[in-house]
């Protein structure tokens, strides 16, 4: 398939997942703070911006760090490329650019999500009915996932869509843990297990967690579950296993693993062979950062291998330029 189309689908997958996870994180932060004192709130909202790497752009706006301002920035600010409306608009542009490759159902699901977001009064919903709004975002993303799953042929396009999707999800689950972890640190030990429970709920994992760990109230179990579960689809390990499968099927019959495969395998092994209790005693934040960096390098390797593969020819035809700079 065309390299440009592969790249568009890869990003569409990322952007839909990002919209969904941003909603999840907003939901967990908002509800986690309902009973908290105001000074804790400011710290938590700031932490949320930080794990999303949006603290600098937000600071540039010179607005107070509060539930309302941060939620608006993350939900409906069109100048924030990571906001939910921006992510969905970009995802729509990306599937529009691949319109002839994807099923009508998938296009319609993305398009109507975008149109509905534009039609709703988000500013007031963020304030008056945040939970319902985040539910709506989550459901719409699930509808898109369902449309993709049920109607897309399992071809290359599908692999790139899902590759972007699973890598983004791995990243975002790391970040979700990071938000909760930093909140726990800032709240001292008083954070309590119910906060972790909310984290599970926001990852739609509380029932699955209960079935696996019964009555556990150990934060370590939650971390283990969200990082290392082999069966829960939002756990980081599960995402990496999925992504590995997609990468493998992009190279049928290859005897040597591709560079993205090798990088992913390394990160996955590092995750798999870590002990959770160790992690919680050390600095979980540092480890999560390490995972995020690993995932980011896989994404870069994918871009170099599949989206810019033929730029070597440009070097031959038009002299060394951008391509050479990128390979170096």
């Amino acid at each position: 398939m065309l390299a440009r189309h592969a790249e568009s689908l890869f990003w569409a997958g990322r952007q839909i997942e990002r919209a969904q996870d941003t909603a999840r994180m907003l939901d967990v932060t908002y509800h986690g703070l309902l009973e908290a004192p105001p000074w804790e709130a400011e710290r938590s909202w700031h932490d949320l911006l930080k794990v999303l790497w949006l603290d600098q752009p937000f600071a540039a706006l010179e607005r107070p760090v509060r539930a309302g301002t941060v939620s608006e920035f993350l939900v409906l600010d069109p100048t924030n490329p990571g906001s939910i409306v921006s992510s969905v608009a970009q995802a729509r542009e990306n599937v529009r650019a691949t319109r002839e490759l994807i099923s009508t159902e998938l296009w319609e699901a993305v398009n109507s999500f975008h149109l509905e977001l534009r039609a709703r009064n988000l500013r007031s919903e963020v304030e008056t009915a945040p939970h319902q709004l985040y539910q709506f975002v989550k459901r719409s993303c699930q509808e898109i996932a369902g449309a993709a799953d049920e109607t897309m042929p399992r071809d290359e396009g599908w692999r790139f869509l899902m590759l972007g999707w699973t890598l983004e999800r791995a990243e975002m689950t790391c970040r979700l843990l990071d938000v909760r972890y930093s909140q726990m640190v800032s709240a001292g030990a008083s954070g309590g297990f119910h906060h972790w429970l909310r984290t599970l709920q926001s990852a739609s994992g509380s029932e699955a967690f209960r079935r696996r760990y019964r009555a556990s109230t150990e934060p370590a179990d939650v971390v283990e579950f969200l990082l290392l579960s082999r069966t829960f689809p939002r756990s980081v390990l599960h995402c990496l296993i999925e992504a590995e499968g997609h990468l493998r099927r992009l190279e049928p019959g290859a005897s040597v693993r591709s560079r993205p495969q090798r990088l992913l395998g390394r990160t996955k092994a590092d995750l798999e062979f870590h002990d959770t209790h160790e992690l919680l005693q050390g600095d979980l934040h540092v480890f999560l950062d390490y995972l995020l960096d690993g995932v980011r390098r896989v994404a870069e390797a994918v871009a170099l291998q599949y989206f810019r593969a033929s730029e070597e020819l440009d070097v031959r035809a038009f002299g060394p330029g951008r391509a050479a700079a990128e390979i170096a």
């Binding site: 398939m1 065309l2 390299a3 440009r4 189309h5 592969a6 542009e93 529009r96 650019a97 319109r99 002839e100 490759l101 009508t104 296009w107 319609e108 398009n111 109507s112 149109l115 290359e156 790139f160 992009l250 599949y306 989206f307 593969a309 033929s310 020819l313 440009d314 031959r316 035809a317």
Partner: protein, 488 residues
């Protein structure tokens, strides 16, 4: 007459549904019976169903020159236009004849002996001064001479109902996607109306286009040549159609940045390296196609594309330089071209056209610009036209100045009192002017898709049907001749 049609006023025009005595024409009787009984409420429901279907499918086009709401859905009227089998047979014969002659003309100019100029059928200077005439296309042959691989011929009916050619679109005619989408929406919205009619299908267009494109592949290509659709990108007003056609054919939709020319061979960048391309169905205008030979500032083009075509490594469809044959001044010569190349009388009429570089014709026209239509010769899409009877004095004066400055740049035509068709306006029917753009495909043979795009001037009294100028459309039903030969 059924309720919906009660009070319908066909006016002083040729009406497609109601004849001069106020009776419903025979080929519309079933439809009038079927739709006539609908209440305003039911109609509103059907319209909602239709709008939802279009909007959800993302069928939109972009309107330039408006501040907001760049994407609009293309309004389709719920009352279809019906063409009986015998009328269609006449149209089809005329279209095949016309496009065949135009292809012969283009081949003669670009790869032939230019006999048509030598024999004085068309003035040499007229061809040489046409904006659509491209010297860069000299010597680049197209298999089977199918230079207009897709042609869209605009047809109107005047006061007596005669089918008349209004203009030819031989470069990048658009609108076929609406033909297919209108049909698909109609079968969903009023499925039962189809049961009363033998409507000829249109959904074979994608495979037919692909087949035609494969037929013009360079001789050295595989038995399965690689075909792509080249689009300017998602911000082009017809992008929906480009994507639609690629999907209908199951081929890649590429942009210029996806293509690369090396050693006169065109390839596309894929996830697994470069793959050779044999035929490009391009929806990018000539001027932007190859910055090496055309506009150097074009980012929509592929450097080296023309050299690859000249080397016979790739076929570009429609061919470069077709604009000379749909130049509106050359239009006046098409009946002569048909006689010259095919030795036959034109089946379809043309509109009386005045050539304004001729001092006598110009003088006669300038005296009565308020009665004529004036068109720039190289434009399409209804841009830059003057419709005399509805123009202000200032507009007429401005047009007069433009004509005097550049008489070769404009032609004048008699106003055609376009036929009208009952069209839903709120909850009742009103007559609105319509035209028809049938699509003609040329590979190794010439084929017309039954029907085409019927465009409607939705504004009351307006004669301009272009989608870019506030037009809408109708599904167009060509009726199949009954097998036993009885009347349609």
């Amino acid at each position: 007459m059924a309720e919906l049609f009660a009070g319908y006023d066909p006016g002083a025009f040729f009406d497609e549904v109601v004849d001069a005595d106020g009776g419903v024409r025979p080929h519309y009787r079933n439809l009038v019976d079927r739709l006539g009984g609908l209440s305003a409420h039911q109609l509103a429901d059907l319209e909602r169903l239709r709008d939802e279907s279009f909007r959800q499918a993302g069928i939109t086009f972009t309107v330039y020159g408006e501040g907001e709401g760049v994407e609009r859905t293309f309004p389709m009227d719920l009352v279809p236009r019906i063409i009986p089998a015998d009328e269609w047979a006449h149209l089809e014969a005329g279209l095949v004849q016309r496009v065949t002659a135009l292809n012969r003309f283009l081949d003669d100019l670009y790869v032939g002996e230019r006999a048509v100029l030598r024999d004085g059928i068309v003035p040499r200077w007229l061809v040489l001064t046409s904006a659509g005439f491209e010297r860069e296309a000299y010597g680049i042959a197209v298999p089977h001479g199918a230079r207009c691989l897709v042609a869209g011929i605009d047809i109107v009916r005047g006061a007596d109902g005669t089918y008349t050619v209004l203009e030819d679109n031989l470069r990048n005619p658009s609108g076929i996607s609406y033909v297919l989408e209108n049909r698909s929406a109609m079968t969903r919205v009023i499925p039962r109306a189809f049961a009363d009619h033998l409507v000829r299908p249109v959904d074979h267009y994608g495979p037919a286009l692909l087949e035609a494109l494969r037929r013009v592949a360079p001789a050295r290509a595989d038995t399965e040549p690689t075909v792509v659709v080249l689009t300017p990108g998602v911000y082009n007003s017809a992008y929906f159609e480009h994507a639609f056609l690629a999907r209908q054919m199951g081929v890649e939709l590429v942009e210029a940045r996806d293509l690369v020319v090396d050693d006169h061979v065109v390839s596309m960048r894929t996830t697994h390296g470069l793959r050779r391309v044999d035929v490009i169905y391009r929806r990018v205008d000539d001027a932007f196609l190859d910055p090496v030979v055309f506009r150097p500032d074009s980012v929509l083009g592929v450097p080296g594309l023309m050299s690859a075509a000249r080397a016979g490594n790739v076929t570009i469809a429609n061919a470069v330089g077709n604009g000379v044959a749909d130049d509106k001044a050359v239009y006046a010569f098409v009946p002569d071209l048909i006689r010259y190349y095919l030795g036959a009388e034109p089946v379809l009429d043309s509109v009386p056209t005045y050539l304004l570089w001729d001092p006598d014709q110009r003088a006669a026209c300038l005296d009565r610009l308020d009665e004529l239509v004036v068109k720039p010769v190289a434009e399409s899409g209804g841009y830059g036209m003057l419709i005399g009877p509805s123009a202000s004095d200032a507009e007429i004066a401005a047009m007069r100045a433009r004509i005097e400055a550049d008489p070769r740049g404009y032609i004048a035509q008699e106003v055609v009192a376009l036929s009208r068709h009952p069209t839903l306006v709120d909850d009742h029917l009103e007559g609105r002017h319509i035209d028809l753009r049938p699509f003609v495909l040329c590979g190794d043979k010439v084929e017309v898709i039954p029907g085409g795009l019927t465009r409607v001037a939705l504004r009351r009294g307006s004669l301009v049907v272009n989608s870019s100028q506030g037009g809408g459309s109708k599904d167009t039903w060509v009726l199949a001749a009954p097998p036993d030969g009885r009347g349609a």
